[in-house]
Symmetry: C2
Subunit: 239 residues, 2 copies
DNA sequence: ATTGATATTATCAATTTGATAATATCAAGT
DNA sequence: ACTTGATATTATCAAATTGATAATATCAAT
């Protein structure tokens, strides 16, 4: 055996306060769906997956786009930091938010050692006012130079979304109250990055949604029925 | 709008080095499979899912069992910390290791604010010597009082394992070089906490394994064929 | 040869998925 | 009123996957 006992002793004695501190930050990938404003057409604007970004006002990476974030304060949990950061950018309190991954490369921040605990948040953009931030199309972000390692964080966030969309109901946190099945399918397609067959999609999704008696109008084709997520229907429990 | 601009300004000015530091640690849930030593029988000992634990030598939680862990040093990434901690407990270099979740409750460590970035590692216990640590059956751990919030961390690790077992090949990092399908099924059953039908299990697993010409012996019943994981077979690429 | 035990293969029904076709409904143009 | 273009919705059938059970195989011990 070539175990190094000294190393073990060293570790036992190690007191982190003897060392220059490592700062802990939270960065949040906030996803939302935005409709590109329809121009001359009468049609609905195509929907797309958007991410909330902030233009940095200070160095490093001044004027570049970055994820909203902030440092973890001594008296708050990491989740609380995430919620606090969200509050500075939106007015919503009830936002779906889950931890994604912690990024700890040594030089990810040029100023000092900063470890970033990344989160994912999903919001309904129709209900959400944003401040000091902007929505950017996820496809456009791929060709954008972002601050820090935020491009990597976003890639991981997209992976998580892709991985979870088929066995959870998280998409619905991004959907408006009422939506058509085609709209929903369009979101699935941009997240999964592939086309789905409408008939099959309908089948699989049907257990998660409830029809309303409303329809889209003036479409130049058969109107489509509006649905709600079953998780949004208090009715579904009682009836 | 009731956005608080002052808060934003505060955050922009916030310099983490002004505050008492937050220490960052890594704790690792190392999974392995151990055979309970067969006693008077001639049969193979039942296999079980085990987790590597360390008996604490110092306060707090002196003499309690804890996950192996250590602090993140200024010059290493979090992944490197995890690998270093693993090396103090095992002799293996090539160990499957992935980040699990970061635990940041304020009082999870009574000494000071410590955030723990938890990892999962999977090892083949037959190849792995351990030092200053012991294997404990996952079922027994459920009724054991562990140090810190390590019981919570282990619960999350088990969830991750359960979630990933069906769409990845991670189990095989815990399996010995050669194994029977029943042994493999037993591991699946303890991880998923439910019985599986042998015929169906065989079918679904068959694409991931390759048969050898070896069989178990002296079993008092039909011998079972030994298989290898396809990912362990250089052959499978060439032939 | 029989029994008990587990491994392995076979079989068939039930369910889920993939793919395509058929039908419906609107606006706009003829 | 009828046709066209567009998308929504339902129907249909084949293909693949899964659930469940039965049949067969092979060993040690009796």
């Amino acid at each position: 055996m070539k175990f190094d006992t000294d190393e073990q002793e060293f570790l036992d004695k190690y007191d982190p306060s003897d060392y220059p501190s490592i700062a802990v930050a939270v960065d949040i990938v906030v996803f939302g769906i935005s409709k590109s404003t329809p121009k001359s057409y009468r049609r609905l604007g195509k929907q797309s997956l958007n991410i909330m970004l902030v233009k940095r006002k200070e160095y490093p990476f001044k004027d570049k786009l970055a994820l909203p974030g902030g440092f973890v304060l001594p008296e708050e949990t990491i989740d609380e930091t995430a919620k606090r950061v969200l509050k500075t950018k939106t007015e919503l309190n009830e936002i779906y938010c889950e931890q994604l991954y912690t990024f700890g490369d040594i030089n990810r921040d040029p100023r000092m050692r900063v470890i970033s605990c990344a989160y994912i948040a999903l919001v309904d953009t129709e209900k959400t006012q944003i401040k000091d931030a902007e929505w950017v199309d996820a496809d456009i972000i791929k060709n954008t130079d972002l601050a820090f390692d935020h491009a990597v964080i976003i890639m991981e966030a997209l992976k998580r979304l892709r991985g979870k969309i088929n066995y959870t109901d998280i998409v619905f946190y991004m959907m408006p109250e009422k939506f058509t099945i085609s709209q929903l399918q369009e979101i699935y397609e941009t997240i999964l990055q592939k086309k789905l067959l409408p008939a099959a999609f309908r089948r699989t999704i049907s257990g998660k949604i409830i029809q309303t008696e409303e329809f889209t109008q003036n479409a130049g084709h058969r109107p489509s029925r509006l649905y709600r997520w079953i998780g949004n229907c208090a009715d579904s429990v009682n009836k």
